[in-house]
Amino acid sequence: RMNIRSAKAEDLIAMQHSNLLCMAENYHMKYYILHNISWPQLSYVAEDDSGRIVGYVMAKVKEEGTVKHGLITSLAVKRSHRRQGMAQNLMRQSIRAMVECFKAQYVALHVRKSNLPALRLYSNVLHFYVVALEPKYYRDGEDAYTMR
């Protein structure tokens, strides 16, 4: 069983936990709270059979002039629960909410140049395309692609 649902305040610690397990970019709890209070509709979690959180997406909306766009802050699925299309489902739900609640015109995200599986998901499955290369975007010096 997996369950994909909107994230609640009670999920924030588990989201941070998943993030620390899987990702190199980590954030303080306050940042998760900020997302939850600012854009409560945009974060989603994936639960496993026992109700444990095994993946999440966290996103925000940015305003540049009059144009609003969504931005994926962080997306992670535990390795033990991959290959089931969770990331894709999480993304789809979040993107739909961005458009519905915040009238986002487009959605952007950053991805590590070396992260081929993620690149494949974004471009082949979700039809994002690369709009820019951000040199040394990550702390460890790796480049990022900006995608829309």
Binding site: R1, M2, N3, I4, R5, S6, K8, A9, E10, L12, I13, Q16, H17, L20, L21, C22, M23, A24, N26, Y27, H28, M29, K30, I33, N36, I37, S38, P40, Q41, A46, D48, D49, S50, K78, R79, S80, H81, R82, R83, Q84, G85, N89, Q93, R96, A97, E100, C101, F102, K103, S114, R139, D140
Partner: protein
């Protein structure tokens, strides 16, 4: 603002500038201005200026001086609301919220309608959950500024939090009627409507909530919330047809939400298992890629139907190769008949895939195409998981080895093999497999984290830290960085490892670090009290407040707190010897050879200690530098952050009052984790040592409320009776206390003596080792002469009916000698017996065997390295001509 001690125009202007400078964080300029005012001989004692000087100093991080000047200023002008307000702000920045509230209240005595003070006060009141005070302040603000939106919202919210839904709703109603024009896509307005709807639902006015939702549907932009809430309301209001339609559309929107299916079924009013399965089959057709409609019928199907749907589900998973296939069906194993069907199916696949490449003989006979070759690997992995779950280590290893032989590069297999060893009680072999997995994909932090966790389970803290360092910030130690990033799982596992190793101070340090994360998260909400009004995301905000109220309910807190309490109890039972006495071993009676060994050991230890203290000193310097730079950074960004004392392991383990420290960790558990029996068992252990009879009794009663049959409750009762008898013997109790205790003991054990109680307990629970263990403890506790009988009671229990964790519990109690006294011989015999039963468990193997194994491994490693070197040698000598020719080609 009129002052009680007004300044003349020139100084007054300077003072206003000073206030401005503080707002703009121009603290240095502020100090100059304060100096200018105070240098006028008539105003050297001017209270408000002195107070502001103090507050400005606080902005510069000079806390002690800040307190000095603010207090001085206040003393010189006790009737000034400015002085009181400033004192409040200073206390607030120091997180002394209760004190700050008092200051603000004093300030309001002299200036009752000051908006800024009222706003500041309301923030502290909500932070401290002084809900009545908050309501009063919000009411006051509302009457002062009825035209502001925030006044209405805060006013309504203060009632909502007090569960006065009626009032909260009518305030919001009046407010929304006053709003004349609503923009077409107004997120804030939409959030406010949903907040009001939430209030209606919480007050149980469901019909009204539904009408409200229907009326405003067009204005609400959060369509998902509308549909979910509406569907739920339709079900609760028995309007099932309408609910069916809504949940159909929600499933279309997100076919992976379990709740939607459950509510859809509730709306359809279908409960019979075959009918439910039929509903899911429809959804399978409609959403062939969705996983929920495939998995959910397994929960409800029975007998042959279960076999059928499970067969379909597993085949699909194995064919596609889904690593979490077993995890997805793990909960079904709670039903033994379902577990048996799953096992049978998987074994069938394995047999037929090996023979013909098909899932079944029927498939083969029908001439169906063969399954992909990987299907065998995934089946083997599934079986390995299955037998691991059943704790059948041999068979689990058998299947995982088949899988690894087939596809040695599949990382998931190595992780599973490690996990099997972990469950079998061999954390060392377990981590070796995780390390192997980790080395095959160093870019994946998940494997990195798992590897580090397994190392911690094997008590290898520095190795675990080293592994983690691959993903932490450079230039900072991984330990510090993980703490900075609130990485609680790592810190808790460290604490547990240190606890096992007896490095108690280090263990406590980690527990306190976790506790500080929780304190920080409580602190984090402060900024959101005002922020949420701007965003109008009031549902999320109330969700946050409710989360923070019970934050320490989180299992991460529980785990760390439990560890801390256990360590503090141990420090109470066996206080650390002061450093000088450690050396004073009775050397006179040692034979010369032993003495020599001891001397060399001491020399080595001394050298090591010197080295370590030098390293520690270095680290300290580094830390201080780091702290300093952090402080400087803080001054720019957040002058309000008070500095916490550094946690020092050596100090923590030499606390004067370990039990009081334990209680600090215990209190939140007693409040928030009442439903966990361990809370009350831990509480008993603490109060037993403090000889607090009433609190012991309270812990026992609470534990019994959770689970009266829990084995440890018995031991608590026995020890309580013993303490009671001993206390009464010493000195008669207060009459009322005696009455309470009499009544309670009568309820607990009736008119039996503790001995009788214990004998009956043993007789009644002779089939449960954990109960017998507690009975044996009681036997020995009540009468030390029954030691042999007590030990025999636990060691003679049939080992084939015992679980690994239980055997470990019994063995460690015997080995450590703190439950039944010294009993080395019995412990060794029991260890040997357990070793035969649990051959993989490390704790039952003897040291010589482990050392021999280690040496064998080292030797093998050395051999491999030598071979590699020889190979390299051959390789490099033979490669010369090739590189020459390559050079020629390149040159030409």
């Amino acid at each position: 603002m009129p002052s009680s001690d007004p300044l003349p125009p020139k100084e007054g202007a300077l003072f206003r500038k000073l206030l401005k400078c503080y707002e703009l964080k121009q603290y240095k300029n502020g100090l100059k201005l304060a100096k200018q005012i105070l240098s006028n001989p008539k105003y050297t004692e001017h209270g408000e200026t002195l107070a502001m000087k103090g507050l400005t100093l606080n902005g510069l991080g000079r806390r002690e001086e800040a307190y000095k000047y603010v207090r001085l200023g206040l003393r010189n002008d006790l009737r000034s609301h400015v002085c009181w307000h400033v004192y409040g702000l200073l206390q607030r920045s120091d997180k002394k919220y209760d004190e700050a509230i008092k200051c603000y209240r004093n300030a309001l005595k002299w200036e009752k309608d000051n908006l800024q003070i009222l706003k500041d006060l309301s923030l502290l009141q909500i932070q401290m959950r002084d809900l009545d005070g908050y309501k009063e302040t919000r009411h006051h603000l509302f009457t002062l500024r009825p035209s502001q939106h925030a006044s209405w919202i805060g006013f309504a919210m203060s009632y909502h939090l007090l569960r006065d839904y009626e009032m909260a709703n009518s305030i919001l109603d009046t407010f929304s009627q006053s709003q004349t024009s609503v923009e077409p896509h107004d997120y804030r307005h939409s959030e406010l409507l949903l907040y009001q709807n939430q209030i209606l639902i919480e007050s149980d006015r469901l019909q009204q909530a539904l009408e409200h939702l229907i009326k405003y549907e067009a204005q609400i932009v959060d369509k998902l919330a509308v549909r979910e809430t509406m569907g739920d309301l339709y079900i609760k209001l028995q309007q099932h047809e309408k609910a069916v339609l809504i949940f159909e559309s929600l499933i279309r929107r997100n076919p992976e939400n379990v709740l939607y299916y459950e509510q859809y079924l509730a709306a359809l009013q279908v409960t019979e298992s075959s009918a439910v399965v039929a509903v899911y089959r429809e959804f399978q057709k409609q959403y062939p890629r969705a996983l929920c409609p495939q998995r959910l019928p397994l929960n409800v199907a029975l007998g042959d139907e279960f076999r059928e749907v499970t067969n379909e589900y597993l085949r699909r998973g194995v064919r596609k190769g889904i690593p979490p296939l077993f995890v997805n069906v793990r909960t079904l194993h709670q039903d033994p008949s379902k577990a048996a069907i799953i096992e049978k199916l998987a074994l069938e696949y394995f047999e037929n895939l090996t023979r013909s490449g098909h899932f079944s003989r029927e498939d083969a006979d029908a001439g169906l195409p063969v399954e992909p070759a990987s299907a065998l690997v995934w089946t083997a992995l599934f079986l390995a998981h299955h037998y691991d779950y059943m704790r059948d280590t041999d068979r689990a290893l058998e299947y995982i080895n088949v899988a690894i032989d087939h596809t040695p590069t599949l990382i998931d297999l190595l992780i599973t093999k490690g996990r099997i060893f972990k469950h079998a009680g061999d954390p060392v072999e377990a981590y070796v497999w995780l390390e192997e997995a980790q080395s095959m994909d160093t870019a994946d932090r998940y494997i990195n984290s798992k590897c580090s966790k397994y190392m911690l389970r094997a008590d290898m803290v520095s190795e675990a830290e080293e592994i983690c360092a691959k993903f932490t910030r450079e230039g900072v130690s991984a330990m510090d960085n993980l703490n900075e990033m609130q990485c609680m799982w790592f810190q808790t596992e460290c604490a547990l490892a240190y606890q096992r190793m007896g490095r108690l101070g280090e263990s406590l340090k980690k527990c306190h670090e976790v506790e500080r994360h929780f304190a920080e998260i409580v602190e984090d909400q402060f900024d959101f009290h005002t922020y949420c009004m701007r965003r109008m995301t009031l549902r999320a905000y109330v969700g946050l407040l409710r989360l923070e109220d019970v934050l320490r309910q989180h299992p991460f807190y529980f785990k760390a707190a439990k560890c801390a309490i256990e360590v503090y109890i141990r420090l109470y039972d066996k206080p650390l010897k002061s450093e000088t006495t450690i050396e004073e071993i009775d050397i006179e009676n040692l034979p010369p050879s032993e003495l020599k060994k001891l001397r060399s050991k001491q020399r080595k230890a001394k050298k090591k200690a010197e080295l370590e203290s030098a390293q520690a000193a270095q680290a300290q310097v580094k830390r201080e530098q780091h702290q300093k730079s952090k402080q400087q950074a803080n001054q720019e960004t957040d002058p309000d952050a008070p500095q916490l004392d550094e946690l020092v392991a050596e100090k923590l383990e030499r606390t004067d009052d370990p039990l009081e420290k334990a209680i600090d960790f215990l209190k939140p558990l007693q409040q928030l984790a009442k439903e966990r029996i361990e809370t009350h068992l831990l509480a008993f252990e603490v109060y037993y040592r403090k000889n607090k009879l009433l609190l012991m009794l309270q812990s026992i009663q609470r534990a019994r409320a959770v689970n009266p049959a829990h084995p440890e409750v018995h031991s608590c009762v026995v020890r309580f009776m013993k303490s009671l008898a001993a206390t009464v013997k010493q000195q008669p109790l207060n009459e009322h206390v005696q009455q309470v205790l009499d009544k309670a003991t009568k309820e607990l054990i009736g008119s039996k003596t503790p001995q009788q109680l214990n004998d009956e307990f043993i007789a009644k629970h002779n089939a449960s080792i954990l109960h017998l263990y507690e009975g044996a403890r009681g036997l020995y506790e009540l009468d030390h002469s029954k030691r042999a009988a007590a030990i025999k009671l636990v060691t003679s229990f049939n080992l084939s009916k015992i679980r690994l964790e239980e055997a470990i519990k019994v063995y460690t109690a015997l080995r450590d000698g703190d439950v039944f006294g010294e009993c080395e011989a019995e412990a060794n015999a029991y260890q040997q017996a357990c070793h035969e039963r649990f051959q993989y468990a490390r704790v039952f193997r003897n040291v010589e065997e482990l050392e021999a194994q280690l040496q064998e491994k080292e030797a093998a490693k050395l051999r491999a390295e030598e071979e590699q070197q020889q190979f390299n040698h051959v390789d490099s000598s033979s490669s010369e001509p090739v590189s020459n020719s390559a050079a020629t080609v390149a040159a030409s």
